[in-house]
């Protein structure tokens, strides 16, 4: 039997997980700090997104926390699932984003950025950056809105990769 000396860094996975946890904490603090600011427009919404930041599909809750010069800022969180396999379990996906909706009703540009947090039923944890650039349609007098968006998924923890993706949403504001 022959082989070169092995020197693989077995602690690499631990370092990456700690890095991910650190940035999740920073991101979560920012989201909640934004949410706790005094509301200019109190507006909540629930929406279903096919494709998009949650992967295959997701259910989401959104809350607007600020409005300035025809731009509304909102935070959004959702839930989705991604079955992997028998050994790896199922991924529970939590997309968490900050959105900026700019323009005048019924047409708005919807821009967002955040993280897609994955926790599997086997205890694995991972992060992707999620972004959004889309068109949102909602009449002033209607609680319903519709959105079509480009939602790339960006891997950054270990290796940079961009997956081009998109989503269609239907939602209800209250």
């Amino acid at each position: 039997m022959e082989n070169e000396p092995a020197a693989f860094n077995g602690n690499a996975v631990t370092v990456i997980n700690m890095k991910a946890v650190f940035w999740v904490c920073i991101f979560t603090l920012l989201v909640y700090q934004s949410a706790s600011q005094e509301l200019m427009v109190k507006s909540k919404a629930v929406f279903f997104e096919l494709g998009g930041s949650g992967g295959i599909a997701s259910l989401n809750f959104e809350k607007q926390f600020s409005e300035r010069n025809n731009t509304r800022f909102a935070w959004r969180t959702g839930i989705s699932v991604a079955p992997v396999d028998r050994n790896s379990g199922t991924g529970i996906i939590l997309p968490v984003l900050l959105h900026a909706l700019t323009g005048k009703a019924p047409h708005r540009l919807d821009l967002g950025i955040g993280q897609g947090i994955t926790v599997t039923t086997k205890g694995s944890f991972y992060l992707l950056t999620t972004a959004c650039a889309g068109y949102r349609y909602q009449k002033e007098e209607s609680p319903w809105f519709y959105r079509l968006a480009y939602t790339p998924l960006i891997s950054w923890l270990e290796h940079w990769q961009v997956q081009h993706w998109g989503g269609i949403s239907i939602g209800y504001t209250f």
Binding site: W23, V84, N87, W156, H159
Partner: protein
Amino acid sequence: MKKWLPSIWCIIFISGCQKDTHHEAQHFFRDGFEDYTTFRDLFSESKQRWSIAEITHPDNEITLDSAKARTGKKSIKFTASPSTNGVVSKASIAKQNMSFIEGETVRLSASLFLESMLPVSGLFIMDIEEHTAIGAMPGMRLMIVDDYLRVEYKTGDKDISQPEGRKIAFPRNQWVNITWELKLSRVRKGTVRLWQNGELIIESMNIQTLPKDLLYFQQGTKGIYNSCEAGITANSTRQKLTLWADDVIFEKIN
């Protein structure tokens, strides 16, 4: 705080994009199974030997065999029953902590003896995989279908089969030398070549040979294969099968 929010977001996003460039792992591993007394000797904590064995059925087994060898005096013998009830039947050994990265060409070779009086279809005999944070260890593997070797992607892409009209069956009940070369690429710049007893039976160019992230189903791919597996890596046939392996080599050739 509000006016600093966009700047903070930029810092978080940009600083998160640091690549881990620290790769210190093996590019070469070879085993003729002559140095062992027992099966347990194949594994050691020093990472210089095989890393793990996978035996997923109570009737499956892996043993050292001094009665049959391609070279020297010993080989390793794998026996596996058919897969049932959704559980993949495996009797295989894997070498982890390897490092074959994008742009490199990796060669996996072995002498194999497949014992069977019946045609074989659905037997997996050699895998190369990437350990990912989320995912089912994506990669590629060699598979025997209707007595012919082919290359299969573990994550759904179309198999690479021998060209029609020039297929050569995998000989049963005799030693067969298999050499499998992959030029690694996550885009369509990779190559697969497969030789059977010195004859080139598969050659496919401008293909993807490394896995990429796939939504949330597969995350954390790094463009590196870090695990090579040999033996009966899955028995999806309807018969209990025995396979001997000798002179296994995993190496980067350029």
